[in-house]
Amino acid sequence: MDQGFFLLFATVAVITALTVVLARNPVHSALALMACFLQISAVFVLLEAPLLAVVQIFVYVGAIMVLFLFVIMMIDVREAVLQRFLPGGNLPALVLLVLLGAEMLVLVLSSDRFSATEPIAMREGDQIRQLSTTLFADYLLPFEAASVILLAALVGAIVLARKEPE
């Protein structure tokens, strides 16, 4: 049951990821990326990380994709649609990518460290409560640093996108 669902989600995720890279129109890329993120959040549900699945949908599908579509609408993409994309245009990079993928897959498949089928049982109790206790007790400093980084990014984005005063 789980395996069937995982195969379904993984197949759709890979197909939509290929669409992101191969589509000529950036709007199609953005929509395919949204579908891919939805599949990945379904994989998170299968991994029993419901909080991460919800965060994934809120942040990526809700916020980042809206930002992408907004920017695509703001700037003119007609010129980008017209230019053709040839996958063989950059042969060294293509060869490097094939080598990278083959190497990683061979390493993962030939090692028996990744063959675990049954996860170690989680501690009993409310998973999200334990997760947030860990986050806010042991990782408080990185959490605050992340919020400062988000504030800096907010200010930076506003300053960058502002029109220059005449």
Partner: protein
Amino acid sequence: MVPLWWHISLAVVLFVIGAAGVLLRRNILVVLMSLELLLNSVNINFIAFGRYYADFRGQIFAIFVIAITAAEVAVALGILVALVRNKSTLKVDDVTVMKG
């Protein structure tokens, strides 16, 4: 249950596709989207390992990755809007102001 290496293989495939988008496409928007794909494949790895070794740190690091990604996208799209306003191009090859 799904074996651990299935998740890692999915992450590897998504990572290679995202790297292909970064290296082969010339459109800045698609390059940014491919970067998102790369970070997401890393997140799958974090959460899969966290689940199979019963450790919350995987999920916590995934939360941090998502937060940093949001910041990165906001800044990158701001830079992109400023770039298009000044140079009116979307091709990576045309952006050579900081000649490397």
